[in-house]
Amino acid sequence: MSGNAIICLGNRYVAGDDVGCRVFDRLSSGELPEELELVDGGLCGLDLLRLVEGRRRVVFVDALAGLADAGSVVVLSREQVAAYAGGYGHGAGLPYLLRLLPQVCATPLPEIVLVGTELMGNAADESVIGDLAARCMEVALHGA
């Protein structure tokens, strides 16, 4: 794998946790630059590692809880997300991966950010999904 990637995370069967999936659907319905790969990362957790290795820049997209004002779109650095890592469990997700990444990435560490939105209620509305998708593209192509 090479170049830049947007990796969308979430579960489309759980309202509120489907933010990344909806951004994936939104972006995949349009034209994307050749150098940019769009990935449905699902619930892979630690197994996202293989999707990160060899990239220049990776933008993760996910819902946030307790990290920002409701309804806002935020960009967090790898270090900011990694600070929330605890021990490993079946539910270990992006923070665990990003915390461990410098020790286990087989290629030079890519530039990594998380673009997310703090949910307002159980589900994000379409305008927030649109804002997220636009911010993801901007960061993926030009950096945070």
Partner: protein, 509 residues
Amino acid sequence: MSKRILRDIPLNRVEGDLEIRIELEKNRIVDAWSSGTMFRGFENLLINRGALDGLVITPRVCGICSTTHLMAAAGALDRIAGVVLPDNAIRLRNVALMAEHCQSDVRQSVLMFLPDFTAALYAAHPLHAEAVKRYAPLAGERCVDVVRQTKTFLEIIAILGGQWPHSSFMVPGGVSYAPSVIELNQCRHLLARYRNWYEQSVLGCALERWQAVRSAADLDAWLEEASAQRDGDVGFFLRFARAAGLRDRGQGYGHFLSYGSLDLPADTAVVAGGGQLVAAGFVADFGAVQSFDQSRVSEHVAASWYSDYEGGKHPFEGVTDPRATGADGKKYSWCKAPRYAGLPAETGPLAERIVGGDPLFLDLVRQEGANLVCRQLARMTRPATLLAAMETWLVEMAARPDSPYYQPLSPLVEGRGFGLIEAARGALGHWVEIREGRISRYQIITPTAWNGSPRDGAGLRGPWEQALIGTPIADIDNPVEAGHVVRSFDPCLVCAVHVVGAEGTPLRG
């Protein structure tokens, strides 16, 4: 009158959706309640959907063992169709499932179970400093190595199934893709690399040497035989656990259940009795193995947050009607309480070995009881029972490139069937009913529902509730000892909700 303490204990490296309440007397657990705190509702989500939709939706039940759910879902539809799978389809399905098991068993052991040995409770243990060096969360050298080594192994499933996790390549009648010989050889390469690492780092010896360990005395001799064996993860685990006195902890009822798994192709060099590599059966009170009959499975809801009914219901009669109020606190979990022949039953790698008649584990259980060390040892060494058969089946597929991987069949319109397999954590069943081409009933019983079940209509505790009884707790604010017991069952109650979360100051982008 002695003082009793009730306490909810956090087991957040077990599962965010699991809470254990314990009652202590004189620093020992005298009662326990296990609560699954999240309602999933996948079964209801499937009602009225197309007959094949379970193949896409149920792998999303779990991000760790999605192949397992796919295989159970496909198995139920195979049974409804009455189809006989081609040998290559059986081989391919088996190899994918075994890859998921082999990765899960090692990650659970090194990333989840062994880090508890770094706890302050063991500061005076002679191996504590070594445990910290090896297994400290996010830093231990073995933890980092396990992540590095296991990350590539599941590429086997991605090659065979197109993606992992949440693949949907198993379909009624077989699989949707016939891999090329080149792809099968890629899988063999990944397998050989993983096997080599597992032998060197986890076992400390060749698979064949481990398979010659057939009694407790053999195990003692094996442990003293070579430094590589003492220093591997298995050897270290045994030395630490024995010195910490863990062999008298975590004993359950002595009831063991295996649905059986990994059907043998009609033409194969893999040898096993009963037509499956992992045997099916039930053992009550450490007694003789009884044949397994799925009609004896039932689920109770006396202590579960669902509408009440009398006794237990077989999954073909089961309903999932959430109701979290009105029982005066008697209900405490979103897990139902599965029972076999009316009894709670432990399931998982130790149960598989007991049911399958593994001489080492029969001897260990006879001498020490079915304690948490036996249970964890069974999990750590399960890959040693699978890796060689995986290689054989990959070779057999490569040698038969023109043999079918799929048996065509008619659309599924009416019928009911069940798919029963052994998941990484134990017995997994999908019971499916199709009416007019749509799903009219779908019931799933997971391994953690068996092991972590709440009380049933007779008031019997679930297996790990029972296994916690008698466990000493040195520090109620850090009950590592209870964690050992529950983690030895490898609980899994999660997977649906995973948003990145934290408590603290809001951040702005």
